[in-house]
Symmetry: C2
């Protein structure tokens, strides 16, 4: 049987080199190409496709400094004609990382600090069309199904974003044309759902779970 052909997508040259070295040592895996961000990954896929050289698995990092990030790239790849499975290989295992990856159509979620043998198995599993999840990812998805009521509404996320810019309750109220009382009501709900009791903790929690972008970030 031919090698499993992998496309590496990671913005860190160092990490790409590490994965390349690690994977090529395994029997049955070869690196088809590498890309530093989502746009480059799509370009590589189409380039390889016209050459008739398929890609069996895309190994994708989620956090990428510049260019299209991992979630957007995964979604874009899933819209291709014959999309290869996308296996997320990233550093963090926060709720929102996992959820947005799964929602974008990833067929697996692994952590970079997993033992090489586990990464090898995950690549083969993904290539075979199976779903492979890190323990925390699996647990999170189970939990989502058993008790779904804890997610923030769009309105709450909107206020959270304004909160993170440093606005006072009054300023937020003016911004979205509601009363300060309503802002407080929303905030109380938000604190409850996030399990915190003040605005800075809410920002920290929401940022960690990637519900919102870090304060002062473009977007």
């Amino acid at each position: 049987m031919a090698d499993v052909r992998v496309l590496l997508v990671d913005d860190h040259p160092v990490v790409r080199a590490g994965l390349r070295a690690m994977l090529t040592e395994f029997e049955g895996i070869s690196i088809a190409a590498e890309a530093a961000d989502g746009k480059a990954a799509l370009k590589e896929l189409s380039r390889l496709s016209v050459l008739g050289e398929g890609v069996d698995v895309v190994l994708m990092d989620l956090q990428m400094g510049a260019g299209m990030d991992g979630v957007a790239a995964t979604a874009a790849i899933r819209k291709l004609a014959a999309p290869p499975p996308v296996l997320i290989l990233t550093t963090y295992d926060t709720d929102s990382d996992i959820l947005s990856a799964v929602e974008a159509g990833a067929s697996g979620y692994m952590l970079k600090d997993a033992p090489p043998e586990q990464i090898r198995q995950a690549v083969f599993a993904a290539a075979a069309g199976e779903t492979v999840l890190a323990p925390r990812a699996a647990a999170l998805l189970m939990n989502r199904i058993t008790n779904p009521g804890t997610s923030l509404t769009p309105r709450e996320v909107q206020l959270l974003e304004l909160l993170a810019t440093g606005l006072s309750n009054r300023a937020i109220a003016k911004q979205v044309f509601i009363s300060e009382a309503t802002v407080k009501t929303h905030l109380v709900h938000i604190y409850g759902k996030l399990g915190v009791d003040n605005r800075t903790a809410a920002i920290a929690a929401a940022t960690r779970r990637r519900i919102i972008r870090p304060p002062g970030q473009a977007g």
Copy 2:
């Protein structure tokens, strides 16, 4: 001339593999040993020293999940009899990271997403006793000298970091063993220097200016 002997310190197997692969491809560089955290790095240094095998450069990550972190390890290495230069190679370039690394005695600060050629040059420069800084690190230190009045003190940055985790004034006070009154004093100074008038705005401003890392980011 003999190879530059490098000690890799990073908690990530993938990253270590990447650096090993990348550096050994270069003429004149060889890997003396690897370590997954600060304690292991010190052990490796003493082990190599009794074998009479010197280390010319320590390549050190700052963020390491468990064990002694990069700053503490750097400080510990600088206290050795004949300390090798420590070149920081990390993911983040916030003021706080850069300053604490430099204060700990690092002789260089590079980012992991730097091109391989730059990393190679940095290793040789550090081995030759030179100081090598990423652009943002250099700019920060220059700025320190040209206008010192407007910059935050280390203490203020420390409180800012705790602030960003969502702690109350009282909780911050307990954390650093000072009174709540002193925390307030510091915060007033911080607000003045950042040009804001509340804690959430301070977090947003400090994050935007990269004085601190985004809330909830691994450190």
